[in-house]
Protein backbone atom coordinates (compact mmCIF):
# COMPACT_ATOMS: atom_id res chain seq x y z
CA UNK A 1 0.00 0.00 0.00
CA UNK A 2 1.36 3.42 -0.88
CA UNK A 3 1.29 6.43 1.46
CA UNK A 4 -1.65 7.89 -0.48
CA UNK A 5 -3.59 4.63 -0.12
CA UNK A 6 -3.13 4.71 3.65
CA UNK A 7 -4.37 8.30 3.88
CA UNK A 8 -7.42 7.66 1.69
CA UNK A 9 -8.21 4.47 3.62
CA UNK A 10 -7.85 6.28 6.94
CA UNK A 11 -10.15 9.09 5.79
CA UNK A 12 -12.74 6.67 4.41
CA UNK A 13 -14.24 6.00 7.85
CA UNK A 14 -16.61 8.35 9.72
CA UNK A 15 -15.25 7.47 13.17
CA UNK A 16 -11.72 8.29 12.08
CA UNK A 17 -12.84 11.56 10.52
CA UNK A 18 -14.62 12.34 13.80
CA UNK A 19 -11.40 11.69 15.72
CA UNK A 20 -9.48 14.02 13.38
CA UNK A 21 -12.12 16.72 13.85
CA UNK A 22 -11.84 16.37 17.64
CA UNK A 23 -8.06 16.79 17.43
CA UNK A 24 -8.48 19.72 15.06
CA UNK A 25 -10.59 21.43 17.74
CA UNK A 26 -8.13 20.65 20.48
CA UNK A 27 -4.85 18.90 19.89
CA UNK A 28 -2.85 16.70 22.23
CA UNK A 29 -5.71 14.62 23.66
CA UNK A 30 -5.18 11.35 25.48
CA UNK A 31 -6.89 8.09 24.56
CA UNK A 32 -9.14 8.43 27.61
CA UNK A 33 -10.33 11.87 26.47
CA UNK A 34 -10.97 10.71 22.90
CA UNK A 35 -12.71 7.56 24.09
CA UNK A 36 -15.12 9.53 26.28
CA UNK A 37 -16.68 11.15 23.20
CA UNK A 38 -17.36 7.95 21.33
CA UNK A 39 -19.84 5.16 21.98
CA UNK A 40 -17.13 2.61 21.39
CA UNK A 41 -14.83 0.37 23.41
CA UNK A 42 -11.32 1.56 24.30
CA UNK A 43 -9.99 -1.18 22.07
CA UNK A 44 -12.10 0.03 19.14
CA UNK A 45 -10.85 3.61 19.50
CA UNK A 46 -7.26 2.33 19.76
CA UNK A 47 -7.70 0.43 16.51
CA UNK A 48 -8.93 3.53 14.70
CA UNK A 49 -6.10 5.65 16.14
CA UNK A 50 -3.65 3.00 14.97
CA UNK A 51 -4.91 3.34 11.36
CA UNK A 52 -4.63 7.13 11.61
CA UNK A 53 -1.09 6.79 12.97
CA UNK A 54 -0.08 4.39 10.19
CA UNK A 55 -1.32 6.96 7.68
CA UNK A 56 0.71 9.66 9.43
CA UNK A 57 -2.43 11.67 10.21
CA UNK A 58 -1.97 11.31 13.94
CA UNK A 59 1.36 11.60 15.74
CA UNK A 60 1.72 10.55 19.37
CA UNK A 61 4.10 12.04 21.92
CA UNK A 62 4.71 10.74 25.41
CA UNK A 63 4.80 13.14 28.30
CA UNK A 64 5.52 11.31 31.52
CA UNK A 65 2.96 8.53 31.79
CA UNK A 66 0.56 10.09 29.32
CA UNK A 67 0.40 9.61 25.59
CA UNK A 68 -0.91 12.61 23.68
CA UNK A 69 -2.36 12.51 20.18
CA UNK A 70 -1.67 15.27 17.70
CA UNK A 71 -3.28 15.90 14.34
CA UNK A 72 -0.63 15.95 11.61
CA UNK A 73 -2.15 17.76 8.62
CA UNK A 74 0.88 17.32 6.32
CA UNK A 75 -0.33 14.11 4.54
CA UNK A 76 -3.60 15.88 3.67
CA UNK A 77 -1.60 18.78 2.24
CA UNK A 78 0.42 16.31 0.14
CA UNK A 79 -2.79 14.71 -1.16
CA UNK A 80 -4.03 18.20 -1.96
CA UNK A 81 -0.81 19.05 -3.84
CA UNK A 82 -0.87 15.75 -5.70
CA UNK A 83 -4.58 15.43 -6.55
CA UNK A 84 -6.57 18.60 -6.04
CA UNK A 85 -4.17 21.10 -7.62
CA UNK A 86 -3.74 18.88 -10.65
CA UNK A 87 -7.44 18.77 -11.49
CA UNK A 88 -8.56 22.22 -10.39
CA UNK A 89 -5.79 24.38 -11.84
CA UNK A 90 -6.43 23.85 -15.59
CA UNK A 91 -10.12 24.66 -15.05
CA UNK A 92 -9.41 27.73 -13.00
CA UNK A 93 -6.96 29.00 -15.61
CA UNK A 94 -9.44 28.16 -18.42
CA UNK A 95 -12.04 30.29 -16.64
CA UNK A 96 -9.54 33.08 -16.12
CA UNK A 97 -8.73 32.98 -19.83
CA UNK A 98 -12.42 33.05 -20.75
CA UNK A 99 -12.91 36.08 -18.53
CA UNK A 100 -10.00 37.87 -20.22
CA UNK A 101 -11.30 37.01 -23.69
CA UNK A 102 -14.84 38.16 -22.91
CA UNK A 103 -13.66 41.36 -21.30
CA UNK A 104 -11.43 42.13 -24.27
CA UNK A 105 -14.33 41.57 -26.65
CA UNK A 106 -16.64 43.87 -24.74
CA UNK A 107 -13.96 46.57 -24.51
Amino acid sequence: MTDDDRVFKALADPTRRFLLDRLFQRDGRTLTELESELAMTRFGVMKHLRVLEDAGLVVTRREGREKHHFLNPVPIRLIHDRWIDKYTEPRVSALAELKTTLEEESA
Binding site: D3, Q25, G28, G56, G64, P73, V74, P75, L78, D81
Partner: protein, 148 residues
Protein backbone atom coordinates in the same frame (compact mmCIF):
# COMPACT_ATOMS: atom_id res chain seq x y z
CA UNK B 1 1.76 17.67 35.70
CA UNK B 2 2.04 19.09 32.24
CA UNK B 3 -1.22 19.85 30.53
CA UNK B 4 -1.40 20.47 26.83
CA UNK B 5 -4.19 22.74 25.71
CA UNK B 6 -5.31 24.16 22.39
CA UNK B 7 -2.51 24.81 19.98
CA UNK B 8 0.19 25.50 22.56
CA UNK B 9 1.92 22.41 21.21
CA UNK B 10 1.80 21.67 17.50
CA UNK B 11 3.30 18.57 15.92
CA UNK B 12 3.99 18.08 12.23
CA UNK B 13 5.55 15.07 10.58
CA UNK B 14 6.59 14.10 7.08
CA UNK B 15 8.52 11.29 5.41
CA UNK B 16 11.18 12.55 3.02
CA UNK B 17 13.20 10.42 0.63
CA UNK B 18 16.60 11.90 1.45
CA UNK B 19 19.55 11.32 3.77
CA UNK B 20 19.52 12.85 7.27
CA UNK B 21 22.47 15.01 6.19
CA UNK B 22 20.51 16.42 3.24
CA UNK B 23 17.54 17.23 5.49
CA UNK B 24 19.88 18.83 8.02
CA UNK B 25 21.45 21.05 5.36
CA UNK B 26 18.00 21.99 4.08
CA UNK B 27 16.91 23.28 7.50
CA UNK B 28 20.13 25.02 8.51
CA UNK B 29 21.40 26.70 5.34
CA UNK B 30 19.89 29.84 3.78
CA UNK B 31 20.43 28.76 0.16
CA UNK B 32 17.98 25.90 0.82
CA UNK B 33 15.47 27.61 3.09
CA UNK B 34 14.83 30.47 0.67
CA UNK B 35 13.39 27.91 -1.75
CA UNK B 36 10.69 26.55 0.55
CA UNK B 37 10.35 28.78 3.67
CA UNK B 38 8.26 31.64 2.24
CA UNK B 39 11.42 32.93 0.60
CA UNK B 40 13.24 33.46 3.92
CA UNK B 41 16.99 32.97 4.17
CA UNK B 42 17.44 31.09 7.44
CA UNK B 43 20.74 30.23 9.03
CA UNK B 44 20.95 27.99 12.08
CA UNK B 45 24.31 27.77 13.83
CA UNK B 46 25.15 26.23 17.24
CA UNK B 47 24.58 29.70 18.73
CA UNK B 48 21.88 31.45 16.78
CA UNK B 49 18.82 31.15 14.57
CA UNK B 50 18.64 34.01 12.07
CA UNK B 51 15.97 34.49 9.42
CA UNK B 52 15.84 37.23 6.81
CA UNK B 53 12.75 37.71 4.67
CA UNK B 54 12.82 38.14 0.88
CA UNK B 55 12.57 41.93 1.36
CA UNK B 56 15.68 41.93 3.57
CA UNK B 57 13.84 42.50 6.87
CA UNK B 58 14.63 40.40 9.95
CA UNK B 59 12.04 37.62 10.40
CA UNK B 60 13.73 35.82 13.28
CA UNK B 61 16.74 36.23 15.56
CA UNK B 62 16.65 33.80 18.45
CA UNK B 63 18.95 31.47 20.40
CA UNK B 64 19.66 27.92 19.29
CA UNK B 65 19.37 25.63 22.31
CA UNK B 66 20.42 22.30 20.81
CA UNK B 67 22.46 21.72 17.69
CA UNK B 68 23.12 18.04 17.04
CA UNK B 69 23.67 17.39 13.30
CA UNK B 70 22.07 15.59 11.56
CA UNK B 71 19.53 14.65 14.20
CA UNK B 72 18.17 17.43 16.37
CA UNK B 73 17.83 21.19 16.34
CA UNK B 74 16.07 23.22 19.02
CA UNK B 75 15.58 26.93 18.42
CA UNK B 76 13.68 29.84 19.87
CA UNK B 77 10.90 31.36 17.76
CA UNK B 78 9.50 34.85 17.65
CA UNK B 79 7.50 36.04 14.65
CA UNK B 80 9.43 39.23 13.89
CA UNK B 81 7.86 39.33 10.38
CA UNK B 82 4.72 40.82 11.93
CA UNK B 83 4.90 43.75 14.40
CA UNK B 84 1.92 42.48 16.40
CA UNK B 85 3.18 38.91 16.67
CA UNK B 86 6.71 40.14 17.46
CA UNK B 87 5.41 41.49 20.80
CA UNK B 88 4.54 37.99 22.01
CA UNK B 89 6.72 35.72 24.17
CA UNK B 90 9.34 33.49 22.63
CA UNK B 91 8.18 29.98 21.78
CA UNK B 92 10.23 26.92 20.82
CA UNK B 93 10.70 24.88 17.64
CA UNK B 94 12.26 21.41 17.73
CA UNK B 95 13.34 19.63 14.54
CA UNK B 96 13.91 15.87 14.80
CA UNK B 97 15.34 13.85 11.93
CA UNK B 98 15.05 10.05 12.20
CA UNK B 99 16.58 7.79 9.57
CA UNK B 100 14.15 5.16 8.22
CA UNK B 101 14.45 2.09 6.01
CA UNK B 102 14.59 2.51 2.26
CA UNK B 103 16.49 5.80 2.18
CA UNK B 104 13.75 7.75 3.96
CA UNK B 105 13.86 10.19 6.84
CA UNK B 106 11.04 10.97 9.20
CA UNK B 107 11.11 14.68 9.96
CA UNK B 108 9.15 15.84 12.99
CA UNK B 109 8.63 19.50 13.81
CA UNK B 110 7.29 20.38 17.24
CA UNK B 111 6.33 23.98 17.85
CA UNK B 112 5.58 24.34 21.56
CA UNK B 113 5.76 26.68 24.56
CA UNK B 114 3.21 28.79 22.72
CA UNK B 115 1.31 29.69 25.92
CA UNK B 116 2.54 33.29 25.76
CA UNK B 117 2.13 33.59 21.99
CA UNK B 118 -1.49 32.81 21.06
CA UNK B 119 -1.46 34.88 17.87
CA UNK B 120 1.75 33.25 16.72
CA UNK B 121 0.18 29.85 17.47
CA UNK B 122 -2.74 30.78 15.25
CA UNK B 123 -0.50 32.20 12.54
CA UNK B 124 1.81 29.18 12.17
CA UNK B 125 -0.82 26.47 12.55
CA UNK B 126 -2.47 24.77 9.64
CA UNK B 127 -1.09 26.01 6.33
CA UNK B 128 1.96 27.74 7.86
CA UNK B 129 4.06 24.75 8.88
CA UNK B 130 2.25 22.53 6.39
CA UNK B 131 3.42 24.64 3.43
CA UNK B 132 6.97 24.65 4.80
CA UNK B 133 7.09 20.88 5.23
CA UNK B 134 5.44 19.96 1.94
CA UNK B 135 7.72 22.46 0.19
CA UNK B 136 10.78 21.01 1.91
CA UNK B 137 9.76 17.48 0.89
CA UNK B 138 9.22 18.53 -2.73
CA UNK B 139 12.53 20.39 -2.87
CA UNK B 140 14.54 17.47 -1.47
CA UNK B 141 12.81 14.83 -3.58
CA UNK B 142 12.61 16.67 -6.89
CA UNK B 143 15.24 19.40 -6.57
CA UNK B 144 12.57 21.95 -7.36
CA UNK B 145 10.50 24.27 -5.13
CA UNK B 146 6.77 23.58 -4.72
CA UNK B 147 5.71 26.83 -6.36
CA UNK B 148 7.67 29.37 -8.33
Amino acid sequence: MTTITAQTTQVYQVFIKATPEAVWDAITKPEFTERYFFGARIENTPERHRAVGPDGSVWGDEPVYEFDPPRRLVQGWRSLYDPELAQEDESRVTWEIASQEGGYCLLTVIHDRLEGAPKTAENVSGTGWMMVLSGLKTLLETGRPLAD
